[in-house]
């Protein structure tokens, strides 16, 4: 079995449109959550994590017309990742044979919703002809493969909130076991449409906007938390066998050392501590690590009433008494819940912690819930020396759980 490393990172998120800006925002405890503009008058104020990026900087009007926003965001992240991975040496193999492993929860929903709205409100016969190819869940992976020129497998994982963590984990396994040498792996989501937000509101899981300070609406582990905040974005990393990276003298940013994927098989939405525990243990076993080796955990931490307590309990089951000494934070407090892309966004957050030597905070945590009694790195980032191993949790509706572990590269290459 081969070692798998990370040689490139791309991200476009509500708290930064590239890796440097994203990391700086994590370190500053900066929120990217704000009130949404242009909402129907019949709706009460809404908050979300928005990517405030002028896409016309990157694409022609014709391209913007042909691709859903989810694919446009994925392409930006993919190009950043390849550029940061010493792209000149990627042009030949390994990139030619690279796989594209992406996760998305709901794909091109904006195109689908817009098309259906026009379709049913008009004569019910006419519909935008590109609706199918814009809305299909594998459109982002297809466009990334075309843009970068990857001829390996192109796979799309749709496991709700764990989609992109699963995508990264499955790409890691494919490299580890020799099926491919290189992959672009991560996810994209662009679901801030009126209908989608209505549906989430109906489920009573969204945070009640903090109208005094909308940017503080997501309050993981806090006594006054009210739910999750939807967000959009994309994060894609270049994964590569260590041999491949060495052959082309690529920068090794970190190792991907462990992946666990388990299913609760208990309830379609209710989180389950035993399932989460099994997932974290599977990742540790895969990495050959003990719980005490982990120096930072990026929690799933959605800020729902049930989820934060269940995850806290699962962390205690896995880490025992050491749980209280483990820094655990929910960066969703800053970037929101990026759904199918959130696993990748948060794995990148964990990488930022390890590479840039800081613990990202859980902001908006004035008064912790007594049932949430771990060290959540409340409100401000903390400097830290030499994190060796970091973990990122993703727990999804459907009970599909994933956990990723990254480790510091043993020596700079």
């Amino acid at each position: 079995m081969r070692q798998v490393c990370i040689t490139g990172i791309g991200i476009v998120s509500p708290i930064g449109h590239d890796l440097a800006a994203f990391s700086a925002s994590l370190q500053a405890g900066k929120s990217g959550i704000r009130l949404l503009d242009n909402q129907p008058a019949s709706r009460s104020p809404r908050v979300a994590g928005v990517v405030d990026l002028d896409l016309s900087q990157f694409y022609t009007p014709s391209q913007i017309s042909l691709l859903d926003r989810v694919s446009l965001l994925a392409l930006i992240a993919a190009k950043q990742a390849v550029a940061s991975a010493n792209e000149k040496t990627l042009e030949a193999p390994p990139m030619l044979q690279a796989g594209v492993y992406l996760g998305t929860g709901i794909g091109g929903i904006k195109s689908l919703e817009t098309a259906f709205e026009e379709h049913f409100l008009r004569d019910g016969k006419r519909i935008k002809p590109l609706t199918v190819v814009q809305a299909m869940n594998n459109a982002p992976a297809g466009h990334v493969a075309m843009e970068i020129g990857c001829h390996g497998p192109s796979l799309t994982f749709s496991t709700a909130c764990s989609s992109s963590a699963i995508a990264i984990g499955e790409a890691y396994r494919a490299i580890k076991h020799g099926y491919i040498d290189c992959a672009l792996a991560g996810g994209a989501e662009a679901l801030l449409t009126t209908g989608t937000i209505d549906a989430w509101e109906a489920l009573r899981t969204l945070a009640i906007p903090d109208l005094a300070n909308p940017s503080a609406s997501c309050k993981p582990f806090s006594l006054n938390r009210t739910g999750l905040v939807l967000a959009e974005g994309a994060a894609i990393i270049v994964l590569e066998s260590l041999d491949s990276a060495r052959r082309r003298n690529a920068p090794v940013l970190a190792m991907l050392s462990g992946y666990g994927a388990k299913t609760d098989a208990t309830h379609i939405t209710k989180p389950d501590a035993d399932g989460q525990t099994a997932t974290m243990r599977a990742a540790l076993a895969d990495a050959g690590l003990n719980p005490s080796d982990i120096g930072y955990l990026n929690a799933h931490g959605t800020a729902t009433l049930a989820g934060d307590v269940v995850e806290t309990n699962a962390v205690k089951q896995v880490f025992g008494n050491q749980a209280f000494a483990l820094p655990v934070s929910s960066t969703k407090s800053m970037h929101g819940h990026v759904m199918g892309a959130t696993g990748a966004v948060e794995f990148v957050a964990a990488l930022c912690a390890m590479i840039n030597n800081f613990l990202p905070p859980t902001i908006n945590l004035a008064e912790p819930d007594p049932a949430c009694d771990l060290d959540y790195v409340a409100n401000s980032a903390r400097p830290v020396d030499g994190l060796k191993h970091v973990m990122s949790n993703s727990f999804a509706f459907g009970g599909s759980n994933a956990c990723l572990i990254a480790s510091r590269a043993s020596k700079p290459l």
């Binding site: 009007p61 014709s62 017309s65 042909l66 004569d123 935008k128 002809p129």
Partner: protein
């Protein structure tokens, strides 16, 4: 097509729309120019025809005729009928 639009007026309007949609110089939009040579792919053309329907307020027939040149595109659009207004 509406009788108020002569073929020349329609073609000029379509040329302007194509030039803007695909960022192509209007000088290159001769009737014999192939869609492929102008860098317009099949999906882009389908999307454009949909926009033409909206812009001109017409419905195009559900045709499978291959549209290889701009002359083919103009001819196809000329078959469009004014959109029925829902009562």
């Amino acid at each position: 097509m509406s009788s108020s639009n002569s073929p020349e007026v329609l073609q000029q309007k379509l040329k302007e729309m194509i030039a803007e949609e695909f960022s192509i110089s209007i000088d290159k939009l001769t009737p014999e120019a192939t869609v492929e040579s102008l860098g317009i792919d099949s999906l882009g053309l389908i999307d454009f025809m949909f926009k033409v329907e909206d812009e001109l307020g017409v419905d195009m027939p559900d045709s499978r005729t291959p549209l290889l040149t701009l002359a083919d595109v103009y001819a196809e659009i000329a078959k469009a009928t004014p959109r029925a207004v829902k009562g």
